[in-house]
């Protein structure tokens, strides 16, 4: 049976009716139309569905929507400030860390959480933080470079 839940996504409150089996990824994409969150594997392997739940990178494909009630969710749509890209997004664009873009929302959100916890990560720390986000296109090096560049940009801003 469907139940009414309240989800706080990108700072906005939403009321939706979902079945308990609805995953957070499905709720975001189908009920809220936030299709920036991708579904790749549905079993925790690829990280395309990464969102931040209370600031923590989480796979939304293995999180039930009903479990997300009462928590703050950040999806890729909430990262930019209007038309102004976030420094992490700017770094990804300028360094060339995006090819098909399927993995990018997850990569950007995992990077945001990393830089929040550790503003000055080593290359090993970056690789470890992104190890649950797979990319079929870039070969990863540009992504690692973009994260380093993003760390530099964020430091300049602070």
């Amino acid at each position: 049976m469907k139940r009414i839940i309240h989800l706080k996504v990108n700072g906005l409150d939403h009321e939706i009716a979902v079945e308990p089996r609805r995953t957070l990824a499905e709720a975001l994409r189908i009920d809220l139309g936030l299709t920036g969150t991708r579904i790749g594997c549905s079993i925790g392997d690829c990280g395309a569905c990464t969102v931040l739940i209370d600031g923590v990178p989480s796979f939304s494909c293995l999180t039930l929507a009903v479990e997300a009630e009462g928590h703050e969710i950040l999806t890729i749509e909430g990262v930019a400030d209007g038309n102004k890209l976030h420094p992490v997004q700017e770094a990804f664009v300028e360094v060339g860390a995006i090819q098909c873009g399927f993995c990018t929302p997850g990569m950007v959100l995992s990077t945001l959480a990393l830089l929040d916890y550790n503003p000055d990560p080593t290359e090993d720390e970056i690789r470890r933080a992104l190890s649950g986000n797979l990319c079929r296109c870039t070969g990863y090096q540009k992504i690692i470079d973009a994260v380093k560049d993003a760390a530099r940009r964020m430091k300049e801003l602070s």
Binding site: M1, R3, E19, P20, R21, T23, E26, S42, I43, G44, D45, G47, T50, V56, P57, S58, F59, L62, T63, L64, V66, E67, S110, R127, R128, A129, S131, G132, N133
Partner: protein, 322 residues
């Protein structure tokens, strides 16, 4: 593929949860921790028929394969809103860890890193950040896989599990907890509440090593954990456990026995490691051959014991200088 239908219960206290479980005894009810095992198992798998050897045309049909459950559960009872189940605390010479403590919590805890180093090693090497952020310690133990990365060191460290139901509480050793793959002694109305470790008041050290083909998102080919307690230079307790070499986490008492009442010398470590590899009964699968796994048990056990020794000595030095 959508998940199968189920109803969802989310109690906010342990008492409420136990009350519900008592009442639903005869229904198909499953506990939901972080869901990183359960929700994967509930989903019907989809495979490309091109991988099917009987498909002569090599055409790319999509074929659903039934999920791990013959009958999916009617209810999922979520433990995520029971605050008391999450957290790591020290009480005298005990460390008590709630079942809903995430793997990331373990990895980031100084107490775990210092006092239960082997468990920290396990948490550090489990899955990926996304898995560690949602997956829980209790879920990893209750899912009872023979390669579970926190189970092997928990067993080496002599961890005790507190199981609770409306009928009361019981404490069991991890040694007696797992019966086989995915199968434990937990009764249908019981919840794993917490895991308790007794810390010795003399030198001790523990370690866990996972051999895998990649650094992340890997199930181990072989895993070995060790924990030693040393008094006046002499080993007074040694426990060696192995992962992925038997249907369940394997304790090798014979290997620990060899180290007792002696110094932890390279020679003795070597002997214990050889014994451990003789007791391992691995299978051959896509992750590794039985012979390879058996030889690796020796190497990993040796290394784990050497790390234990270094950590025991180092901890003593740190105590002395503080």
């Amino acid at each position: 593929m959508r998940l199968p239908k189920f109803d969802y219960l989310s109690p906010t206290s342990l008492t409420e949860a136990l009350e519900i479980m008592g009442g639903y005894k005869n229904r198909r009810l499953k506990l939901l921790g972080g869901g990183t095992d359960l929700l994967v198992d509930l989903r019907d798998k989809v495979i490309l028929d091109v991988h099917n050897p009987h498909n002569q045309e090599h055409r790319c049909h999509i074929k659903p394969v039934q999920s791990a459950f013959n009958e999916p559960p009617e209810y999922l009872l979520s433990l995520s809103r029971i605050a008391d189940l999450r957290g790591i605390r020290s009480e005298g010479n005990k460390i008590i860890i709630g079942a809903m403590t995430t793997i990331t919590d373990l990895e980031r805890s100084d107490i775990v890193k210092k006092k239960l180093s082997g468990l920290h090693d396990g948490a550090w090497q489990l899955g990926s950040p996304l898995v560690r952020n949602r997956g829980t310690y209790g879920g990893n133990l209750c899912n009872a896989r023979p390669a579970a990365d926190t189970a092997i060191p928990t067993m080496a460290l002599g961890g005790k599990l507190v199981l609770i139901s409306k009928r009361g509480e019981r404490t069991v050793e991890h040694d007696d907890f797992v019966l086989g793959p995915g199968n434990t002694i937990i009764m249908p109305d019981e919840i794993l509440k917490e895991i308790i470790f007794d810390l010795p008041d003399v030198q001790y050290g523990s370690a866990y090593i996972k051999l895998a083909n990649r650094k992340a998102l890997e199930i181990s080919v072989v895993g070995a954990a060790a924990s030693v307690i040393i008094k006046d230079g002499i080993v007074i307790s040694a426990r060696i456990t192995l992962g992925a070499v038997a249907p369940k986490p394997l304790l090798v008492p014979e290997a620990g026995q060899l180290l007792l009442d002696r110094e932890l010398t390279d020679d003795n470590i070597e002997k214990a490691a050889k014994t451990a590899s003789k007791k391992a009964k691995p299978i051959t699968d896509h992750r590794g051959g039985a012979t390879y796994r058996t030889s690796m048990v020796e190497v990993l056990t040796k290394r784990a014991l050497m790390i234990c020794r270094a950590r025991a000595l180092n901890a003593e030095r740190m105590e002395a200088s503080s």
